[in-house]
């Protein structure tokens, strides 16, 4: 019986720990100023008797995506997708060999690609993401995500989301918040999986977009994605995207780079209680360590402004017990 009760004890402990992992709101967070800032803020705005109470319709929280909710190194996931797509489509487009940027993409010449800057990346995305309906595009993204692997972690990209941030999303929603993704990434690229991975519906995704046209094709109403930029939801574009899609000023914003600076400013200078947080990538061992000198997710000016603005830095290495969800 001794061994049996031992097994029972272990089983019980496992069940208990699984249950607390599910029930404790921020289970993957170490106690510290970051976790405390989140909890204090949520208690404050949800206390109906407190002076800082915020009605549920006003509880809007916005999250950057790349580097805030999932990995953005060694390159944005959408860029990895675009590169795979260029290579896959290249045989049908011999004319792409005449375009230095597309040629570099086909040949995996990352140096030329990097030198092309954001403008080059935009051209790459525009060329490879157009010519089909949003639904067909999302299916292409879904298929790619089902097989593509991150080069270092050898896991699917949608498994490389930050477990502690999934807990923040859930914790806020349990407390009456509506959670939005507000990302420089493509709106339809994210919508393909945001509900499944983040519990964020398509209408709660704000992102960059290319133009779309409605037309009747063979008697069938159709939306077609065009190779033409519609909106860039980055930097000073983020408050504009928020205004267009949400129509209310958020009370909480989570970012990780200078691309989130204006979103943090816009969110945190409204009246009443505000929460601004910045994921600081300090963990080279479990994820990556980068800030001021990174090509993707450069964090410089926003970090300098953080103390004066009251934005709380999340120290990935010290604040997070786990970075990614456990492998299944």
């Amino acid at each position: 019986m001794r061994r049996f009760s031992h097994v029972l004890f272990i089983a019980g402990a496992l069940v208990f720990s699984a249950v607390s992992a599910i029930c404790a709101p921020l289970a993957s967070w170490n106690d510290g100023p970051a976790k405390q800032a989140i909890e204090t803020f949520v208690k404050k705005v949800t206390d109906p008797d407190g002076k800082d109470f915020v009605s549920p319709e006003q509880r809007i929280a916005v999250f950057d995506n790349d580097g805030t909710l999932w990995v953005e190194q060694p390159m944005y996931t959408q860029l990895a997708f675009a590169l795979d797509r260029v290579r896959q489509l290249a045989p049908q487009h011999p004319e792409w060999q005449e375009n230095p940027l597309l040629k570099a993409a086909i040949e995996g010449d990352m140096k030329t690609l990097a030198a092309s800057g954001d403008k080059g990346l935009l051209e790459l995305v525009t060329v490879t993401h157009a010519g089909m309906s949003p639904a067909a595009f999302q299916q292409i993204v879904t298929d790619w995500l089902a097989s593509a692997e991150h080069p270092r972690f050898k896991r699917r990209y949608t498994d490389l989301v930050y477990q502690p941030m999934l807990e923040v999303l859930a914790y806020l929603r349990e407390n009456g918040f509506t959670t939005y993704v507000v990302s420089g990434g493509g709106i339809e690229f994210m919508r393909a999986w945001s509900d499944r991975v983040y519990g964020i519906l398509p209408a709660q995704v704000v992102g960059s977009s290319i133009k779309t046209r409605f037309e009747i094709v063979d008697g069938k109403p159709t939306l077609i994605r065009l190779p033409e930029v519609n909106f860039i939801d980055d930097g000073a574009g983020k408050p504009v995207g928020i205004n267009e899609h949400i129509g209310q000023r958020p009370i909480a914003a989570f970012g990780n780079s200078d691309g989130d600076l204006q979103m943090l400013q816009w969110t945190s200078t409204g009246a009443g209680p505000r929460l601004g947080m910045i994921v600081h990538h300090t963990d080279a061992e479990r994820e990556y360590a980068y800030d001021r000198n990174s090509h993707f997710g450069r964090l410089d000016k926003a970090m300098d402004l953080a103390p004066a603005e009251g934005w709380v830095l999340i120290d990935m290495k010290n604040d997070w017990k786990d970075v990614f969800p456990a492998a299944k």
Copy 2:
């Protein structure tokens, strides 16, 4: 005692009728094919055991605004607002006297205005709706609505919403739908009052827009509305606006004019159960009677296509017990 019990009976009857008005889902609708179409559709998509069951996240219903949810005669309410605003601002803008369109607006020369067509109306709106933040603009709209009166009904414009349609909005939401306004009208113009009047939050309003810019003014993060068109959410623009803001194809659409044609097509040709309805203005006595020849809210092609497409016409005169909410 006789008289007293009589009073009690009347009081009881009044309470009962008030309660049924609140509780009966479509109390202002006469029994008929339109009411039946709504009820049958809702029962079908919410029956968990039925083959047509639709999960709550997919229950998206879209409503045109002008002529579908509120009065659009003798002119769009937003146009009445723009005209009042031109007159109010004219003293500060002597240069407007040089512009034939603005001059006509200042002088109330409706013939010239009408002849300028949609392009003229757009210029009028762009000029008078820019130069301030979205919040400041909404305050201007709110103030105007608090005093402006409809020329015929002598009531506030927000009282001239269709009571039966308010009931449809409530009935759908009670059945797990998310309801959106999708209108050619200005997104910020509608957001100023859509929550209070329709129970539709700013994020669930899709409309036409002018461009907005984020900038730091005197150290303060600010959004400024620019006199430049961003998006026209009308006709073939409606499915595009729906895709951009909602990211899902609706399963129910309510319109009243040819400007809603593509929204109806886009909604009703998706897989599974679909509901398309058209408010037909047949009641010159209680509201207005117009369709094919109307300048505002022309209903021609969509009416021709309705039978083949399965769109149900709402006959205002016969289907609606009341048109507007009772005056308070």
